[in-house]
Symmetry: C2
Subunit: 240 residues, 2 copies
């Protein structure tokens, strides 16, 4: 049964955050990313697929139809729709395990890479400040390489989340103690600011100490994802 025009318009509209929020749905398109979400057993509401897609589907479409609602100049063979869920952060949750908190990371590729890093290092959760790239944007999901489906991520004002935290809050900054000197910490929050601006003024009062990655050469800064990965590697090394 051919798709209605309204259905095609609806699928196309999910490219924009405001429409995703209104519908409570997000979309991912492409063989690789849909395969990753299926592999991670992420619940999908619908999977629109052309005959070229050999995996699971809920709706058969023609390549012509796909071209009409595709989010890309070159349509893929599969486009999946997922439900936006915003599980609340349980009270006291930050006091157990490792939390990676992203403070104003606006580049969606960086946010996706950070989810992947959190997944690699088994961070217990990721917090995103509301001015981070939208967790449910396709670029974030793609860049996370499937980690989107495995990481417990929450978007919320960091200052609210940190108000009653009892564990150390480590702020990654250009000035601070060398990350190599970290003492063992199994429970901690790591705050990563944006490259340009660093940690925001709203968050600084909650940082219990600042850590830095020792620099040996000339670059002025490191990419936020690179910095987070080095901190996680150092923290996991000492907290085993």
């Amino acid at each position: 049964m051919p798709l209605t025009k309204a259905e095609i318009t609806r699928l196309r509209s999910l490219q924009e955050k405001k429409h995703r929020e209104a519908a409570g749905l997000f979309v991912v398109e492409g063989e690789k990313v849909v395969g990753e979400l299926l592999g991670a057993k992420f619940p999908l509401v619908d999977i629109y697929a052309t005959p070229a897609w050999t995996g699971a589907r809920t709706v058969d479409v023609t390549a012509d139809e796909m071209a009409r609602f595709s989010h890309y100049p070159t349509p893929a063979s599969v486009l999946a729709v997922g439900k936006i869920t915003r599980p609340p952060l349980a009270a006291g949750a930050l006091d157990r395990g490792l939390t990676l908190a992203l403070d104003g990371i606006q580049d969606p590729g960086n946010v996706g890479t950070l989810l992947r890093i959190a997944d690699w290092f088994a961070c217990d959760r990721v917090l995103l400040s509301p001015d981070c790239a939208d967790l449910f944007s396709q670029k974030v999901v793609n860049a996370s390489m499937g980690s989107f489906a495995r990481v417990d991520a929450h978007t919320l004002p960091l200052a609210t989340a940190f108000a009653s935290v009892k564990v150390p809050v480590l702020g990654c900054d250009l000035q601070g103690d060398a990350v190599h000197a970290l003492t063992p910490l199994r429970d901690a929050v790591i705050v990563i600011g944006s490259e340009g601006r660093g940690i925001s003024d709203a968050v600084r009062p909650f940082v219990t100490y600042y850590i830095t990655i020792p620099k040996y050469g000339g670059a002025e800064s490191l990419n936020a994802a690179v910095a987070a990965a080095i901190v996680c590697d150092n923290l996991r090394r000492v907290s085993k």
Copy 2:
């Protein structure tokens, strides 16, 4: 004096690698990147600037002229031309200091980020296999955030460079010894392969041992630049 049509065509043509190679010139456009290269005292052949650019220049142009040779949809106020230099790699150079060797890293953003990491960790040189992104492409230079001007980089077949190397060649792989267990090494080569393919068959015979970044969670791999940064951090920590 207005620019000739031939001059405008020539400047535009430097977007493409074959024209850059033929002319022995590369181009960077934008206030930030030109400022970084000037800040690093990188020698520039020409600096075309509109009245909006307040820095150094060699040729005054109007905004209309800039729009005709700009490499971007939104023209910047400054576009600089630099000379492509390919200094030879001195015999035995790899046996002193830290070399970061990129094996088939095709994404220019990744190559630029890797130059920045090499700069931060004071790697003595970077080698790029010929199938890496072109060192002189604007995307690489931009992503390096000025490190392009500070890092000693060479594009050449890695197997040729490695043929007579005497120091350890560490291959970063998903299987190998934990990077946390690295013994102090002041002189070494670190090989980073592409995310999809890993270290190439041509390079594997020269790897003296494989190292890996311990994984604690679910992600299948780390981004090449993230992996390189963690290895450099571990190597610098132990070799101080």
